[in-house]
């Protein structure tokens, strides 16, 4: 008897799980389906489930719009930002993890609180200052702005990784006469390499995803007369490709990353 109720329960659980994951996955799948439809098929109602797929939208989007330039710019901005913020951030994270000085913990939490600030509060003044300096439309301006939220994030993440490494190895190297910086670069950094890679990928995704800043600073309006669903959905899918690939690479660190290291 207990066996059958257990079995029924299990079936119910599996059914619920399937429903939940269908709800999660259906909208992005529909996005993809729309992106490989012709304009006529995309606009038909009820939606067509069987149709001849086309890559026309993808070809067109690269040909006719400034999409390619935008993608390349996003890539440049995201990678430059990732590199700069990693360099600054892991140095600071190491300092905070390894040296306990007066106020070191307060400093860590101050840095974390910067990450939590509403972006619009920093954007308004930065927008004005950049406009005054006439660097509003340059990618450098975006690189700098992304630092405001990525740098605190890296410090906080990397601090956790450095704290997980036993410090004995570093101490013996210091006794052997290595300088503090050499110890950081040649011993500590290689030891946290997996964490560093995960953090780098998360920061890359954040920069890639960021829209608010890009919108306001480079005024990239996607407004046209009427929406071309083919272009829009194809563009959406292309934007998602790096995110999906990278997410799969760093599964182990996602919870930590998405909760700003609040959960270990």
């Amino acid at each position: 008897m207990g066996f059958t109720t257990g079995k029924i329960k299990k079936i119910i659980f599996v059914v619920v799980t399937v429903i939940v994951f269908s709800i999660i996955l259906f909208p992005p799948i529909f996005l993809f389906l729309t992106s490989i439809k012709t304009e006529l098929d995309a606009l038909s109602f009820p939606p067509k489930w069987i149709f001849i797929p086309t890559v026309k939208n993808y070809v067109q989007i690269f040909k006719t719009s400034s999409f390619l330039r935008y993608i390349v710019n996003s890539l440049i901005v995201a990678s430059t930002n990732t590199f700069v913020s990693l360099a600054l951030g892991s140095l600071a994270a190491y300092g905070l993890a390894r040296y306990k000085f007066r106020g070191s913990e307060n400093l860590s939490f101050w840095i974390l609180s910067i990450r939590m600030m509403p972006p619009v509060a920093a954007i308004i003044p930065i927008y004005i200052i950049m406009k005054k300096l006439r660097i509003l439309d340059t990618p450098w301006c975006l690189v700098m702005i992304y630092l405001t939220f990525n740098l605190p994030f890296i410090v906080w993440m990397m601090k956790g990784f450095f704290e997980d490494v036993p410090r004995e190895i570093e101490e013996s190297a210091l006794i052997d006469g290595c300088s503090e910086f050499d110890v950081f670069l040649k011993i500590a950094l290689p030891l946290v390499a997996p964490g560093l890679a995960a953090t780098a990928i998360l920061v890359f995704i954040f920069s890639w995803n960021e829209f608010l800043f890009a919108l306001i600073l480079t005024i990239l309006y996607m407004k046209e007369t009427g929406i071309n669903w083919g272009y829009m959905t194809a563009g959406g899918i292309l934007a998602l490709i790096p995110v999906v690939i990278f997410t799969m690479l760093i599964q182990k660190h996602l919870v930590k990353g998405l909760t700003l290291g609040a959960l270990k």
Partner: protein, 303 residues
Amino acid sequence: MGRRKSFQSFKRKYAWVFFIAPAVVVLLGIVIFPLIFSLTLSLHEWNIIRAGGWTWSGLENYATILFLDPYFRTALKVTFLYLLGTVPLQFALGLMVALILYRITRKIIGFLRTSLVFPSIMTPIVVGIIWRLMYNPDMGMLNYFLKLLHLPPLNWTGSPLTALPSVMMADIWEWTPFMALILLAGLQALPQEPFEAALVDGASQAQVLRYITLPLLSPVMIVAILIRLMDSFKTFDLIFVLTEGGPGMSTEILNYYTYKYGFKFFHMGYASALSWLLVVIVTVIAMILIKTIRSRGIYAAGG
């Protein structure tokens, strides 16, 4: 030799300055300085398009916002409706999903985890595009489903009555899996002893849930709710893509209202004052969150 040694120990003692200084200087430059700039600006009257400089107005901007601006009150109301309509639902649904998944599998396998994390790590503007597609009154999937159920079609994001719930529904889709993932990770990191003891004592499943699972999980729950609460105040992309705050002001939360004052009306002084109010609200939540993290180590299984 003695001097060299004391230099060495001096270097050792203050090495942290060398490590930390670059990041702190950069943060001061790109965050703290702009914030002080905007605080100063919030005490002035300044329209960026009109010629003319800043006019000192003291606390006038704040007084206007708090006591005279009826639109601010509307935005505040919309913000709280938005929070009430999303965060508790995300939490309840997320907890349900987490508990069910925990019963099926003790380990988060790759596919489950990737799907759960997918909506929250997706490019937010693409989430907006997806839901704009779903909500489209002419060819959208949701009206098709309504038709299958023999219900009349809705003008989802286009009518003042359904616009806010529509944005909330997209938000719930985006963030419920995130809640579920965090709570599931929390469940998997719980110690096993209390459950074994309960089993020995013959506790029912409902009792185990009520008296062991939920209390043990509460630190993770608090963190999850606080993070969502804090981020909800910052919702922008979904609203921008789906409704641009409309129709009327029906989906205009405080964050969007601030953006509009700055970058549509170009009242930079007023917008700065609004943004500082937002900073105060979010900081209060952030402080509670940080205090929670600080007071106890909160553990979740590595995934």
